[in-house]
């Protein structure tokens, strides 16, 4: 279980998070939605301490990761896999080496075992035989798949997805969603997705939370969320320019 407790974050004079409270249930996929610049990615980056809050805490299995030393934090980070918005593959390495990278760093496997594990993983995301290519030589969708393979190769307990379908066409976006659902069924991870892809992303979400004005304004099971009477949620889901959210 991950608990976000009263989280505040300011960049310069801009207050992005103003007391976020959220519980992310174990084994479920929670999607965080919200307008552009509402702080979704900032919140996501706090979950594995890529950003540290000005105030508040992130409890992972009861430990506040914002107060841990580097070694302890690294032990917690090994429980996480992250799919970044642009996949963040190391561009000096081939796709195979990118996926093998966390395995070689953290798992004590010989090279033959690494090769088997990586090839199996690449095959699962539909990239069998593509490992020899460099990130610059493949499409955006393939990068996302490779990023997903790298994030999942160490079988993490928690997966963070930062806008997994941004920049992809609807068909490719749907295939990434299906892949996430398929991987979730297989690995049973706790998933957190930050997405704009509404309502498509709801099909793979167990729970949905909405971030607006620096706080979580609504959270609940997907069905209950879509029926929410909260005017902020209604405006966002109905793509209405009139309402409590100032659009321009």
């Amino acid at each position: 279980m991950i608990r976000v407790v009263d989280l505040y974050k300011t960049f310069g004079r801009q207050e992005v998070l103003k007391g976020v409270n959220l519980e992310l249930e174990t084994g479920k996929i929670t999607t965080i939605i919200g307008g552009s610049g509402s702080g979704k990615t900032v919140l996501l980056k706090h979950l594995n301490a890529l950003l540290l809050p000005d105030r508040g805490g992130i409890l992972v299995d009861g430990k506040d990761i914002t107060k841990l030393r580097q070694t302890e934090l690294n032990n917690i980070r090994r429980k996480f896999g992250v799919l970044f918005q642009g996949a963040a593959l190391l561009d000096s390495m081939t796709i195979f080496d990118n996926v093998a990278f966390p395995v070689r760093e953290h798992l004590r496997l010989n090279e033959a075992e690494v090769e088997k594990k990586v090839n199996d993983n690449l095959a699962q995301v539909g990239l069998a035989g593509m490992g020899y290519k460099f990130p610059a030589e493949v499409s955006g969708g393939m990068k996302k798949r490779a990023g997903l393979a790298r994030a999942l190769v160490t079988e993490p307990e928690i997966m963070l997805f930062d806008e997994p379908t941004t920049g992809l066409d609807p068909l490719l976006g749907k295939s990434i969603h299906q892949l996430i659902r398929q991987m979730h069924t297989q690995f049973k991870f706790t998933g957190v997705i930050v997405s704009h892809d509404i309502p498509e992303v709801f099909s793979i979400s167990d729970r949905v939370a909405m971030l607006a004005n620096g706080v979580i304004v609504e959270v609940g099971d997907t069905a209950a969320f879509t029926d929410s009477k909260n005017p902020v949620v209604r405006q966002f889901l109905q793509i209405d320019t009139e309402g409590p959210i100032a659009v321009l």
């Binding site: 890529l50 032990n75 980070r77 996480f80 963040a88 760093e105």
Partner: protein
């Protein structure tokens, strides 16, 4: 009036904080260099990129620097009938000053800029965040091996520059202008002492540190936007050139 004083205060605080961060960055790189896992393969890789890949440009600049020194030295010394001191003048100038400084300039232009650009581009495209999220310390993975490689490569490149430049001056002074080969090398042997070689060696080691430290720091702290890469690269090259010249003056004044 008060806003002017406030601005000076703000700049001073920002400068002090920046200096503190820069030194902490270096300390952290050294601390991580001695923690397992030892990244020998990466160190060798960076010795190749800093050392081997800068070799051609260092040799080329060494040859022409030596040739110019041979030419200028010969015509200056001839006015005093002291052409026989050409070897001594060239060797001291190159070993103590020009060798370390010019090879450091070449490495800054050839490798330092690429280093800053690569690391800043990794920052902009979240690759550094990806390393953190994989529980891999980016300082240990990206910075420490480069600094160690810089410390090893720079003295070797400087030594090659020195030898090539001395032979460049030899070609012009002895082969073209007719200084005697014996007096060229004998003058060198008589005037160059161990301290001169040591001075050049220590300068080159410190320049290796300055280049890798500044370029990695600037890359690591690039603004997270597309222009950040260009900004980090330019700033790192300019700062390296200035720091090399300033530090060279202090080293010279200490080691004279």
């Amino acid at each position: 009036m008060f806003s002017w004083i406030g601005q000076i205060g703000r700049c001073t605080i920002e400068w002090t904080v920046g200096m503190g961060r820069t030194f902490l960055f270096l300390l952290s790189a050294f601390a991580w260099a001695f923690r397992p896992p030892t990244r020998l393969r990466l160190i060798v890789h960076h010795i190749r990129t800093i050392g081997v890949e800068s070799l051609s440009v260092v040799i080329l600049s060494g040859i022409f620097t030596g040739m110019v020194m041979g030419l200028q030295g010969y015509y200056s010394l001839r006015k005093f009938n002291a052409e026989n001191f050409l070897g001594s003048a060239v060797a001291l100038g190159i070993l103590r000053e020009l060798g370390p400084v010019l090879s450091a300039f070449m490495v800054t232009g050839r490798t330092g800029s690429a280093m800053a650009a690569e690391i800043s581009s990794m920052k902009v495209t979240e690759q550094i965040d990806a390393l953190y999220s994989m529980a891999i310390n980016p300082i240990q993975y990206l910075v420490s091996p480069r600094i160690i490689a810089g410390l090893i490569s720079m003295p070797l490149l400087t030594a090659i520059f020195d030898v090539v430049a001395i032979y460049g001056a030899f070609v012009v002074g002895v082969q073209l202008l007719g200084v005697s080969s014996g007096s060229y090398f004998a003058g060198m042997e008589l005037s160059v002492v161990f301290k001169d070689v040591l001075s050049g060696f220590l300068k080159s080691v410190s320049f290796g540190l300055i280049i890798t430290w500044i370029c990695c720091y600037k890359g690591f702290h690039a603004p997270p936007m597309a222009t950040g890469v260009g900004q980090a690269t330019t700033e790192s090259v300019v700062l390296c050139f200035v720091m090399i010249l300033v530090w060279n003056y202090f080293m010279t004044s200490i080691m004279l």
